[in-house]
């Protein structure tokens, strides 16, 4: 039996953490993630979980302590946002390089400057090359489910990589929604016991973690193996999703396709923006425009082959990005990945870059509709388009 609840996203994540019941949580508060650590600290204080909680003095130490704890064979979680993720940067690469399956919900928030506490994806998109699995959530329900699944994906013996679960700051983290929580027992059964392949705390087999590996060592081989683990994560994400679906009823795959079959224009979206886009597609369909959407759930590893299959028949694909790459070219990271995925494909759509919602700027269905009308009428924009930007002449 599942429990229908009205929750904010942070509580949904905290509930998943309670059910996973990690051995160690090391975390530091930051808006808009704070409510997760607060709620979880209350669970620890009330003895609802066996977790050892470390209230560290910075996010750098949060990730460092997670690395230490995971090396000690513990199941470990933390959570952060924005500048916090920025401060962890160095340690993100070390967590993945040491192949530690740490799970971290990151509440997406813009990176300074100027300082802004609201949603965009620049924090986690900046970490896209850090060797972490990245799973995006459209709403509180998905944030809850993705957190539970992330533990299984990260800890899979073919993977052993850390995983980030992304949810949009304020829009998801602080918005109250209907969600369903699954039974503790069933979730625990799904997550299972974690047995680390190596631990510092095995007195029969002391180990050295974090060796020095110089010019004549194996650095290149380690990195190649790590990359392979990321490739291995693709089938694992699928399997874990299928198993989750059998147990709880929802299998969300790498992405969701919506009205794509006969679409003349398709939008690629992730996070809460997918909800807005879906609403716009519904209205466009009513108005006779053949619009569709692909909602990306998995960003790392990037499901290139499947994405190409799902979109290759669509003439125009508009990729909605909530962050910039500042590359001087097509500006959004999801757009760059989409273009790259299609480079060797036989049939490719026209792929366009749309940036929206930076620093929490409102994103509404009309913006998507306006873009769709332009595209079906053949007004293909040159370069990157910016939805909702205050233009100088306004």
């Amino acid at each position: 039996m599942s429990r229908p609840v009205a929750v904010v996203g942070t509580d949904a994540v905290a509930e998943a953490m309670r059910q996973i019941e990690p051995d160690v949580v090391a975390a530091y508060p930051i808006t808009p993630q704070t409510a997760i650590v607060e709620t979880f600290a209350t669970m620890v204080a009330n003895g609802e979980v066996k977790t050892e909680m470390i209230n560290v003095e910075s996010e750098h130490s949060a990730m460092s302590a997670c690395i230490g704890a995971a090396s000690g064979g513990a199941r470990v979680m933390t959570c952060t946002s924005s500048q916090g993720l920025g401060l962890m940067w160095e340690m993100l690469y070390i967590a993945s390089g040491l192949r530690l399956p740490i799970v971290m919900p990151n509440v997406n928030r813009a990176l300074s400057a100027p300082i802004n506490i609201h949603c965009d994806h620049s924090d986690s998109m900046g970490a896209r090359d850090s060797g972490w699995i990245q799973i995006f959530s459209e709403n509180a329900q998905e944030a809850y489910e993705n957190t539970i699944q992330a533990a299984r994906i990260a800890e899979h013996p073919d993977v052993l990589l850390p995983a980030m679960v992304l949810l949009d700051g304020f829009i998801i983290s602080h918005g109250t929604e209907r969600a369903e929580f699954y039974d503790d027992e069933k979730v625990r059964e799904f997550v299972g016991e974690y047995k680390a392949p190596y631990t510092l705390l095995d007195s029969e087999n002391p180990i050295t973690v974090g060796s020095f590996d110089g010019l004549y060592g194996y650095f290149f081989e380690f990195k190649r193996a790590q990359e392979q683990a990321m490739h291995n994560a693709l089938p694992v994400v699928k399997e874990v999703g299928e198993e989750f679906g059998k147990k709880f009823g929802s299998n969300r795959g790498y992405f969701e396709t919506y009205q794509l079959e006969d679409a003349e224009v398709a939008f690629v979206a992730l996070g809460s923006g997918a909800g807005t886009t879906r609403a716009a597609v519904q209205q466009l369909r009513k108005e006779g425009v053949k619009a569709g959407m692909l909602k990306l759930r998995l960003f790392r590893p990037f499901p290139e082959e499947e994405l190409v299959k799902a979109l290759s028949h669509v003439p125009v694909v508009a990729v909605l990005d909530r962050s910039l790459t500042n590359s001087g070219g097509p500006s959004g990271p999801v757009c760059l990945e989409t273009m790259s995925a299609f480079y060797n494909a036989e049939s490719k759509p026209t792929i366009l870059s749309y940036i929206y919602g930076l620093g929490g700027r409102d994103f509404n269905p009309q913006m998507v509709k306006d873009a769709a009308y332009d595209l079906v009428e053949g007004n293909i924009p040159q370069g990157t388009s910016y939805l909702g930007l205050k233009e100088e002449d306004n």
């Binding site: 160690v24 066996k50 977790t51 230490g68 090396s71 705390l201 060796s211």
Partner: protein, 308 residues
């Protein structure tokens, strides 16, 4: 603690590591680990530094203990995590052995870049012994000044130029700062006084909470003296009161060594290339200032220890 007993103990840092002959760091590590009871297991953590790069060259390791290095500024927080994993897994019955957790960090990774992580870990009360092997500069990257570097000392980033004669600032009193954290055990020691250090290590390892030991560990490459004089130099540091031996146990300050005849700093600095310029008349003022600093700090320490 008897020397004879210590000679029978298994070395937890094996020979064959690649630290320099005469390195003070490896001596500090061995003296501390010799104080560990036989029936406890140990996890050692290192920040990035000489000790780390010289003892863990993949696929080899010089450590018979479990060992972790993750980055430079975070040995204390990394080991906080290991210690917390232990607390959690021990409580759940998943780990049964009795473990101790020891950081060996250089002064760069302790006084400077790792200071925040150290302070946080001590405040949180992890059961952890943090040992600073203090050689008063960043030696692994080639002798750059740190917050532990002495006034007037030459380093590659506090060079002796025509206008500036070495480091212009006094060192930070890290041992005092750690005592101010109010943790159960804090000590200052030197590799020259092995029994004192081993006793302090035994006390720290027995402390049910955080402890900190700051160990003077001369580096002949950085200090510029012959490699066979490491212990002698450390001893002169103690005898000149540049590096007093003391401990702070539950807030009680205790002096562990009081020189009968406190040696002038010249006797300590004259053997070291990093201070060679201070022996010249033109830098007499710096030399005098250094002596003045040492005298002031010594007087303050005597007062704290009730030795006036």
């Amino acid at each position: 603690m008897k020397l004879k007993d210590l000679t029978h103990k298994e070395e937890l840092l094996t020979g064959g590591h690649r630290l320099c002959a005469g390195c003070g760091a490896s001596i500090a590590v061995r003296q501390v680990l010799l104080a560990a009871p036989d029936d406890v297991e140990i996890v050692v953590a290192n920040p990035t530094g000489c000790l780390e790069v010289s003892t863990t060259i993949y696929p080899y390791t010089a450590w018979r203990t479990s060992y972790i290095h993750s980055a430079f500024e975070n040995a204390a927080s990394t080991l906080s995590g290991v210690e917390s994993a232990y607390q959690s897994l021990y409580r759940q019955g998943k780990v049964k052995d009795d473990y101790r957790f020891v950081v060996f960090g250089g002064d760069g990774g302790t006084y400077d870049i790792g200071f925040q992580a150290l302070s946080g870990a001590m405040e949180r009360g992890h059961r952890m012994v943090y040992v600073c092997y203090n050689n008063e500069a960043y030696m692994n990257t080639g002798i750059q000044r740190s917050g532990a570097t002495s006034l007037g000392a030459w380093t590659t980033t506090s060079p002796v130029g025509s206008e500036i004669p070495g480091k212009t600032q006094n060192r930070k009193d890290l041992t005092g700062i750690m005592a101010a954290h109010g943790i159960p055990y804090v000590a200052q020691a030197s590799v020259s006084h092995w029994r004192d250090l081993a006793n302090k290590a035994a006390k720290a390892l027995a402390t049910d909470g955080p402890s900190f030991i700051n160990v003077l560990s001369p580096c002949h490459r950085g200090w510029r003296f012959p490699m066979e004089q490491t212990i002698e130099l450390a001893k002169l540091g103690v005898q000149s009161c540049v590096w007093p031996l003391y401990e702070v146990e539950d807030g009680e300050w205790k002096l562990n060594y009081k020189a009968k005849n406190k040696k002038p700093i010249e006797e300590y600095i004259q053997h070291q290339g990093r201070f060679a310029h201070l022996m010249k008349d033109e830098n007499k003022e710096v030399r005098e200032k250094l002596q003045e600093n040492v005298d002031k700090e010594w007087a303050r320490l005597l007062k704290k220890c009730g030795e006036e």
